[in-house]
């Protein structure tokens, strides 16, 4: 029974009872990568290139990003697409941040950070931004799917229990048919 064929009604109905864990986990991944990036950045803030104001702004942005992204992950988990735009803005900002402190530190003379640290920070921020945007996109698509499916269920266009019964009947028919088919095949062979 593990190879049951996929039914679009059933797979849509499952979403009504399961959280959007993929979307939420992507957002949490964005938080994890952001943490990785600022761990590396703040290990080199002692150099003269980074002004106090720049670091202060970066710290505040990180705090806001962590808090808002966490709250947004809960919204995504519950198929709420109202704040998808905010998530995308944050995602773009994360990617944009690569070109500010990390790249600035690398290009200044003498370089404030080495190429290795820059790459880690750039990849971390890039991954954080991409995951944030992916979370937003998946959250939006799934929330629309659930909303549309709910409308169909409410209007009576789709009857879940009827579908379940129909699929159960098909499975039962298959289970009954299998031995007969085997017998028929045996007879043909003989």
């Amino acid at each position: 029974m593990k190879d049951a064929t996929s039914n679009p009604i059933i797979s849509s109905d499952i979403m009504r009872y399961k959280k959007n864990k993929l979307g939420a986990n992507l957002a949490l991944g964005a938080i994890a990568f952001d943490c990785l990036s600022f761990m590396f950045l703040y290990s080199v803030v002692g150099t003269s290139y980074y002004s106090t104001w720049a670091i202060a702004f970066d710290v505040i942005f990180n705090l806001v990003f962590l808090l808002i992204t966490f709250l947004l992950s809960e919204q995504v988990k519950n198929y709420n697409s109202k704040l998808v735009i905010l998530q995308i803005i944050f995602g773009v900002c994360q990617i944009g941040r690569i070109f500010w402190l990390p790249l600035g530190g690398l290009l200044t003379k003498p370089a404030a950070i080495d190429i290795g640290k820059f790459l880690v920070m750039a990849i971390s921020l890039g991954a954080s931004g991409v995951l944030e945007i992916a979370s937003a996109v998946i959250g939006y698509i799934r929330s629309k799917q659930v909303a549309e499916f709910n409308k169909k269920v409410e209007s009576g266009e789709v009857d879940i229990m009827e579908t379940v019964k129909q699929l159960d009947a098909e499975d039962a028919a298959k289970a009954h048919a299998t031995p007969e088919v085997a017998v028929n095949e045996q007879e043909e062979v003989q």
Partner: protein, 364 residues
């Protein structure tokens, strides 16, 4: 072939205490068996042995032709519903119901179909996204049942599932259980100490006391033909009135009254002439057309009937249940008799070799 076959089952704990003695039972496919008895009689232990939660000290357990005596619980294809529901508080109702199938790594769509089918049967469709704490006791118990249903087990085991519910809810859940049994045609073993549940739910009742099976039979058999004094007093509410006396010259003679026996009763009791026997009469089989004086001590009107408590000979307290509204006052004396067809005779309880008193067997 019976669905469940239990042979000579014993349970002896490490300290040497024996909880269950020689339990034998064949349960047919689709049968509803209720294990009933007072606390400590071994009914839950028996159920837990069938579930695999207790080791079987001796005997064999066969489920659908497969020897399950030594099998771990997960391989027995049974599902158990507990008194305290045992739901996961952090999961939704849907997740609770799907949990066992998720552990088995079943296909998600198949799990969904099973959960939805169970939710439909149990009328839980609108509760699936809630957490257990948001549901009432009855709804939580239905979820626990749903969790068992989705597994489609060979046998359902219920361990006092309605004990946590209030009286009204218990009544409605009893009716739901009967309907559920009809819908699923499931084989059910159900443990309770509530004789009302036992009488209303069971196809057959297993009445237990002190680890021993006292009687197995249909509810009406236990009520009308109790096998011994224990079953006679345990089944029926209020319990059966018991009188000790002797059979002498075609009469039942006790120190409080004499009562004539019918020729049929005399024939049945012919081997007990002069012996001490126990006469049992249910409160509802006491009539108001006899010659025994009853001093009324209490009159309880229950609407459709009246319970009259009183003393015979100033000593023996008995209960009568009259099917009408009565207005006796404490101190009134009324004449009572017994419905001859419904008089039960038992041997006098005798002590066994350990000095424990064994219930007196029915004389038939």
């Amino acid at each position: 072939m019976p669905e469940v076959n239990i042979q000579h089952l014993d349970k002896i704990y490490d300290g040497g205490v024996q909880a269950v003695y020689d339990f034998n039972l064949d349960i047919a496919d689709g049968e509803f068996i209720v294990l009933v008895g007072p606390s400590g009689c071994g009914k839950s232990t028996t159920l837990r042995m069938v579930a695999g939660l207790e080791d079987i000290s001796a005997g064999t357990l066969i489920i659908d032709g497969k020897d399950c005596t030594q099998l771990p619980p997960k391989d027995r294809d049974i599902a158990m519903v507990f008194q305290n529901y045992a739901l996961y508080g952090h999961m939704t109702i849907y997740e609770n119901m799907a949990f066992s199938l998720t552990l088995r790594k079943e296909n998600k769509e198949l799990i969904h179909r099973k959960v939805m089918a169970a939710a439909e049967i149990l009328d839980l469709k609108t509760q699936l996204n809630k957490k257990p704490r948001q549901l009432s006791g009855g709804q939580r118990q239905r979820v626990a049942m749903g969790r068992a249903i989705v597994r489609n087990p060979k046998v359902f085991l219920f361990d006092e599932p309605l004990s946590n519910l209030d009286a009204k809810l218990r009544g409605s859940m009893r009716r739901e259980l009967i309907l559920l049994h009809k819908k699923l045609n499931a084989t059910i073993m159900y443990v309770t100490h509530d004789q009302t549940e036992a009488l209303t739910l069971a196809d057959r009742i297993v009445c237990m006391s002190m680890g021993h099976v006292q009687q197995i039979g249909k509810p009406i058999e236990l009520y009308e033909k109790p096998a011994n004094t224990f079953v006679a007093t345990f089944i029926g509410l209020p319990p059966m009135n018991m009188f000790e006396g002797k059979i002498e010259g075609g009469k039942f003679v006790s120190e409080l009254f004499e009562y004539p026996l019918t020729p049929e009763q005399q024939k049945t009791l012919s081997g007990h002439e002069g012996e001490t026997v126990i006469l049992g009469v249910r409160p509802e089989n006491v009539t108001r057309d006899g010659h025994i004086d009853l001093l009324v001590t209490n009159n309880e009107n229950l609407g459709m009937n009246t319970l009259v408590h009183g003393k015979i000979g100033g000593k023996k307290i008995i209960v009568c249940k009259f099917a009408e509204w009565c207005n006796y006052k404490a101190g009134d004396t009324i004449q009572i008799g017994f419905d001859h067809e419904m008089m039960h005779f038992f041997e006098k309880p005798q002590p066994d070799e350990n000095g424990k008193e064994l219930p007196g067997k029915a004389i038939r």
